[in-house]
């Protein structure tokens, strides 16, 4: 029937027994669904990034093995027996905890997106990379399990002058970021699991900080130290990097929040050409400010918009899946999506962003993406004037 055999071998013969693949893996027919990198982007592979294959994913949860990686000194392979979390500084009682001890404390579970501040950063000057994996793939979304940072800080007792928290990793970059105490006491976690299993090494095993809605660089991986202080530290990753250069030569610092953003993941350039007839436009939307309230989709480059369906669950600071049914007549289409979050913030166009921020700020590009569906069904990343 249509090339499919009436009696395939997998119907006639026994399949593999249990334990044939004890740690599991996707079907071999999905072997091209992998994280991919852009080699010319970085000087080394150890201080580099790869991208989540968003175009191949459904729902809102990113499988652990497909969550993009960003390392500054390579992926540390930490032995949890030799790992500790120390909390000290302006506290009443500094503390050292083993990973086992952390897991004995009350746990919280939270679904969160994590987006690198530089996601879509290569698109400031115009359409550059042809696929949402590359343009938007520095985002992933998993369920984290861990200990409330507030609970840990209550255990050590933050002194009144303790207004900032320095988080430090155990990797060879000894990554550090300053986090305002207000956020540390709000909704952060010290996580040890993702999507039900222990953190993957590339995501910070055995401990990572979860800072919902804030840029991914602050979610310190291989977390080993938290220091309470009275002022920010102005370390390399919050001065030289992760500051947003404006056209007047001044830069914004501490631009932690990831604003509302969305992208259509199908159709998109890396997928097979679109067939005329019935299709479903699929995409993801998110906001560091809270819940996604609405997503609109345009087929004509932003002249007219239709409101898409949001799929449950719609959680704060989490990816939200949207779809829109679509009958394609085969004529060229300019696809866009626009996210509006619960604060009323509307995802801007690239032109609106450039008007305020120029083209050299690298970080926090949440502009509306345009895909052109051509007559032959292929899709291309284009920029509108």
């Amino acid at each position: 029937m249509d090339g499919a055999p009436a009696l395939p071998s997998w119907t006639q013969y026994l399949g593999f027994g249990v334990d044939a693949r004890p740690d599991g893996s996707p079907s071999g027919h999905e072997s091209d669904v992998v994280r991919r990198s852009v080699e010319w982007l970085t000087a080394t592979r150890e201080s580099s990034v790869n991208f989540t294959p968003l175009h191949e994913l459904d729902g809102i949860i990113t499988p652990n093995g497909l969550c993009f990686e960003r390392h500054h000194g390579g992926m540390a392979e930490v032995d949890p027996a030799d790992h500790r979390l120390m909390i000290h500084g302006l506290v009443d009682e500094p503390i050292v905890l083993t990973v086992e001890e952390l897991r004995r404390l009350p746990q919280e579970n939270r679904f969160c997106f994590l987006e690198c501040a530089a996601n879509t950063g290569m698109e400031w000057h115009g359409a550059q990379l042809n696929g949402c994996q590359y343009t938007h793939g520095m985002v992933h979304c998993v369920q984290y399990t861990g200990v409330s940072l507030k609970l840990l800080l209550e255990q050590v007792g933050v002194k009144p002058e303790g207004k900032w928290l320095l988080a430090e990793g155990a990797d060879s970059a000894a990554m550090t970021r300053s986090i305002p105490m207000e956020k540390a006491l709000d909704d952060c976690l010290v996580a040890y699991s993702m999507n039900g299993e222990r953190l993957r090494p590339e995501q910070g095993y055995p401990l990572r900080l979860v800072v919902p809605g804030f840029e991914g660089n602050m979610w310190i991986k291989w977390l080993r130290r938290l220091e309470v202080g009275s002022k920010p530290w102005h370390h390399r990753e919050e001065t030289s990097k992760y500051t947003d250069l404006m056209p007047d030569g001044e830069a914004r610092r501490f631009t932690w929040l990831m604003d509302a953003k969305s992208v259509i993941t199908s159709p998109s350039p890396q997928l097979p050409p679109v067939e005329p007839g019935f299709n479903v436009i699929k995409g993801i939307a998110w906001s560091g400010h809270g819940r996604v309230k609405r997503v609109d989709v345009s087929l004509d480059g932003g002249v007219n918009w239709k409101t898409a369906t949001l799929h449950q669950p719609v959680l704060p600071k989490c990816l939200t899946r949207f779809t829109l049914d679509w009958e394609w007549d085969g004529s060229p289409v300019l696809l866009q999506s626009r996210c509006i979050d619960e604060t009323g913030y509307i995802q801007p166009t690239p032109a609106e962003l450039q008007e305020v921020r120029g083209t050299e700020s690298i970080y926090h590009n949440n502009g509306i993406q345009t895909w052109q569906v051509k007559e032959d069904g292929t899709v291309e990343n284009v920029r509108l004037g």
Binding site: V38, E39, D82, M86, E93, V96, G131, G157, H234, R252
Partner: protein, 337 residues
């Protein structure tokens, strides 16, 4: 890694808690973990703040730092801290921040000298982190500040005076004001008068090919070699090569009289001796001493795998695997240079 004594937290904590009036008692004490000793905290507490908090005792001059720099830093950041390829430049960029090509270096961008000390000490040299002594870190910091013309060559930097160094761009940062865009309703119909495509990703041509086959790269290769070409060399397409060249243009100019960047100007590269561009100081000894002459064959080998063809080259470029892309690039270099 020093050994941790896994004892229970100190009795002091329990006593302190017991003395807190019931009304002020916060969350319960779970009794987990232990109190680190002061020595344990000191061993891990390496962070430095702009006001100098955290700096250990020590000192160094730019003169001392220069030797450390040449030995441990120059291979990536260049002999004069000018950077190399995608390894960052540590000097220069003054007056560039409000242009279309901002160069963000220690001198032009970093707001605090303490950040240099902290970062060099915690994360450099790349691949051998936290191997520098405190004095070496002071000396390197002094050298980098000197190279940015911020202190004198013989100025001794130490824990008491590092915070006194004022960086040129200290006041160049501010907090973001919100809301940034006008708070209005999202338009639903007839939102613009016209729509025009002004840019296409395929014109830029920098998206990686996916090995799964059928991608744009495969199509280009297929169209470039007809049936009749069997056995003959694939002819490069300079137009396609121009796209491949875009990754080179981050570090090289190619027009006649173009400036040297991280790499030399490439005008006239065909037929030229390697390492022979006057006025370019960034060559590795390997490049200068080689007797290679750049022709299609040598360039092809070099650009396929720079470090294999010329061990010691400073060009931090991984190479081009794709045969067709390589041919196209060389065709472009022949035509444009």
């Amino acid at each position: 890694m020093f050994a941790w004594a896994d004892t229970k937290r100190g009795l002091a904590a329990l006593l302190a808690l017991a003395l807190v009036p019931a009304a002020a008692a916060q969350a319960r004490d779970y009794g987990l973990g232990r109190t680190p000793s002061e020595a344990e905290i000191a061993r891990w507490d390496i962070d430095i703040r702009p006001d100098g908090k955290g700096l250990p005792k020590g000192s160094g001059t730019a003169k001392e730092g220069e030797a450390v720099y040449i030995e441990k830093c120059a291979s990536c950041h260049g002999d004069f801290a000018e950077g190399a390829g995608r390894y960052p430049a540590l000097i220069g960029g003054e007056g560039s921040l409000d242009t279309n090509e901002p160069v963000k270096t220690i001198g032009s961008y970093w707001p605090f000298a303490s950040t240099v000390w902290d970062y060099v000490h915690r994360a450099m040299p790349f691949g051998n982190a936290q191997s520098l002594t405190d004095d070496e870190t002071y000396a390197l910091t002094a050298y980098l500040l000197y190279a940015n013309q911020l202190i004198e060559y013989d100025h001794t930097l130490n824990q008491d005076n590092l915070a006194d160094v004022t960086m040129p761009n200290e006041d160049g940062f501010h907090r973001k004001e919100r809301p940034e865009f006008p708070d209005e309703q999202a338009c639903m119909a007839d939102c613009k008068e016209s729509v025009e495509i002004v840019g296409r990703a395929t014109n830029i041509g920098v998206t990686p090919d996916e090995e799964s086959g059928g991608g744009p790269g495969d199509q280009a290769a297929a169209s470039g070699s007809g049936e009749g070409d069997q056995g003959t060399k694939l002819a490069g397409d300079p137009q396609a090569g121009k796209k491949v060249y875009q990754q080179c243009s981050a570090c090289h100019t190619i027009e006649d009289g173009g400036a040297h960047r991280m790499g030399p100007n490439l005008h006239g590269v065909m037929g030229r001796e390697a390492g022979g561009v006057p006025g370019f100081n960034g060559y590795s000894p390997a490049m200068k001493e080689s007797e290679v002459v750049w022709r299609a064959e040598t360039l092809k080998k070099y650009l396929a795998n720079p470090r294999e063809f010329m061990p010691g080259t400073r060009m931090p470029f991984a190479g081009i695997d794709d045969e067709k892309a390589l041919q196209d690039l060389i065709a472009y270099l022949e035509q444009a240079s």
